[in-house]
């Protein structure tokens, strides 16, 4: 089946599709590409392209960018030989890429939060209200909570800021770069993907460093962007499978890029 048919169904199922998004559009290939199967993923790495192609999946639906900048402005990267190599790899495997980012975050529920909560072992029964992304856990320490998150996710490069002995229970989950502000008095811990370390519009990990001096329990757990948002692409695959029964649809994980010394 043609990519156009699949994209048309995605837009119809999503409802209120905005074609003005710089993100949610074709990044390679187009309407006329014949699709043999669909891979969802967080990042279209060259590794993901190879593995998707080997599995007979030539349509890739990523959450994030393909050419190392958010709007996929190819002028930024086209002088780099790696860009040409990536294009050649896509061409060789007759890949079509259609990104779903903004619309995914507008969906209710937003699959990225559902996936992230599952990945790190945040029990949905502790969520204060559906889609609030706020969890009130039985009181624990920041150290115990972080260890639970790391054990459950298996992620190597989780980073934590704050006093490991701080007693915490009120958690706000963010995803990717949409990191909630820690200077909210009703929160003990923010868990998210990544966020600017300084010079952000709102706060920074330094806030958690200074919290003990004020006797306030605060913690910041950063999962990394890929770990934070990849799990929800499983829900995305299941969702697409529901209205595209003609071809196989499955998650092909990009995985965590980092290791730690």
């Amino acid at each position: 089946m043609r990519a156009a048919e699949i994209v048309e169904r995605i837009k119809a199922q999503m409802g209120a599709w905005r074609d003005t998004s710089t993100r949610d559009r074709y990044k390679f290939g187009g309407d006329d590409t014949e699709v043999t199967g669909i891979a969802t993923t967080v990042f279209v790495t060259m590794d993901v392209i190879e593995r998707a192609a080997a599995a007979g999946l030539n349509m890739i639906v990523p959450h994030e960018d393909t050419f190392w900048n958010d709007p996929d402005n190819e002028a930024v990267v086209q002088e780099d030989p790696l860009y040409a190599e990536k294009i050649e790899l896509l061409r060789r495997h007759n890949i079509v890429i259609f990104r779903i980012h903004d619309h995914m975050h507008s969906q209710v529920p937003d699959f990225t939060y559902v996936g992230s909560a599952r990945e790190i072992g945040l029990d949905p029964r502790y969520e204060t209200a559906p889609n609030s992304h706020r969890f009130i856990l039985p009181e624990t320490t920041l150290g115990e909570l972080a260890a639970h998150v790391q054990r459950t996710s298996g992620a190597r490069a989780i980073r934590v800021v704050g006093d490991p002995n701080a007693r915490v229970s009120r958690i706000q989950l963010g995803v990717g770069y949409a990191t909630p502000n820690l200077n909210n008095a009703e929160l003990d811990v923010v868990i998210s993907g990544e966020q600017q370390e300084t010079d952000s519009g709102f706060d920074s990990p330094a806030y958690a460093l200074d919290a003990p001096a004020a006797g306030v329990p605060k913690g910041w757990i950063m999962l990394g962007h890929a770990v934070s948002e990849e799990a929800g692409m499983l829900e995305m695959a299941e969702w697409i499978r529901g209205f595209v029964p003609e071809v196989p649809v499955r998650l092909v994980r990009a995985g965590e890029p980092f290791w730690v010394p």
């Binding site: 975050h105 934590v160 706000q172 820690l182 370390e197 709102f202 980092f258």
Partner: protein
């Protein structure tokens, strides 16, 4: 390519002001101190010190930059200077213990770019999905800032101890060579960094496996959980490029092809981390490390203390490390 020796750099920065003080390198790697008391000097105020910084820094001063006073009275007499990459409460306490009242920091003191002494109204962090992930920050729900105990504690400590906080970031970075990159290169590898014109600072090392370099970087910087690496641990590294601070994709695109390893501060993961991952998958013999902005700027602020000790002979100048803000639950 130009090699930079310590002596040349000293001549470059001192601008003829010689106080006969060169900082020692201490066993713990901490560079600093020049605190020998200098008797019978005129008292010096914070704004006079900043005036010397502005005229001595070697780049045109941009008054619109973030490099301004953030707290305290600029007209107050300075008893001692502390440089740091992050003026945490712990760093402020150490400054007070050392009887220093002027803090020169490359990072924000009040947590956001505005660096205002009151908490910003901002993202609610409350109910409702935060919008947009990559690239656009997050949903903004303006709300009046409630009383904030963390801001209050820091403000109280600053006021009670008569501290003055000045941010020095943009101009230290704009120097040639970049003061942060030079400090980082020398902390990790010693003297011998060199710079391409308008390019990053490089350092050549004997071929060393990436995992060995990564462990060494962690040790030299006193890293805890903030250092993350991309690349085959066994790949042999010869040329290292330094991109401390915040690293946009354009900087990584310029540096990684010219080096075997880039040591960056903070990146946007959807940019540089994925570019590095693809580079490695495509067969480039490369490594990429992101060590965090605060940690990456720490040695540069130690270098800044050495520079300031010549510029401000009246009082002691020392560097206080904010350390690596991050830890990891499982080693």
């Amino acid at each position: 390519m130009k090699r930079i020796t310590r002596r040349e750099f000293g001549a470059l920065v001192a601008g003829g002001v010689v106080a006969g003080v060169t900082a020692g390198r201490f066993a713990n790697g901490e560079e600093a101190v020049a605190a020998a008391p200098r008797a019978a000097q005129e008292p010096v105020t914070a704004d006079r010190i900043v005036a010397r910084i502005r005229s001595g820094i070697g780049v045109e001063w941009n008054p619109e930059s973030i490099d301004t006073f953030k707290a305290g009275d600029p007209a107050a007499v300075v008893t001692g200077v502390v440089t740091t990459s992050l003026a945490t409460m712990e760093v402020l306490r150490e400054a007070v213990a050392a009887r220093a009242n002027l803090i020169i920091t490359s990072g924000t003191t009040f947590y956001s770019r505005a660096d205002s002494r009151t908490a910003p109204a901002g993202r609610s962090g409350g109910a409702g999905p935060a919008a947009g992930a990559a690239g656009d920050g997050a949903a903004q729900t303006p709300a009046a800032p409630p009383p904030n105990p963390i801001f209050e504690a820091k403000n109280r400590f600053i006021d009670e101890n008569g501290l003055i906080v000045f941010r020095l970031s943009d101009h230290w970075r704009a120097r040639t060579p970049d003061g942060f990159a030079l400090g980082l290169a020398e902390r990790i590898f010693g003297e011998g960094a060199f710079a391409a014109p308008d390019g990053p600072i490089f350092f050549d090392i004997p071929a060393t496996p990436l995992e060995v370099v990564a462990r060494d970087v962690k040790t030299r910087l006193g890293g805890r959980g903030g250092i993350r690496v991309i690349g085959d641990p066994g790949v042999r590294i010869r040329k290292v490029a330094f991109l401390p601070g915040t690293t946009p994709i354009t900087a990584s695109l310029a540096a990684l092809p010219q080096a075997d390893l880039v040591i960056a501060g903070e990146v946007r993961e959807w940019e540089s981390a994925e570019y590095a991952r693809d580079s490695v998958f495509a067969g480039r013999q490369k490594g990429f490390m992101t060590i965090g902005r605060v940690l990456s700027e720490d040695p540069g602020m130690a270098l800044c203390a050495r520079w300031l000790s010549d510029l401000v002979p009246e009082v002691g100048v020392r560097h206080v490390s904010a350390g690596d803000p991050y830890w990891r639950p499982v080693a």
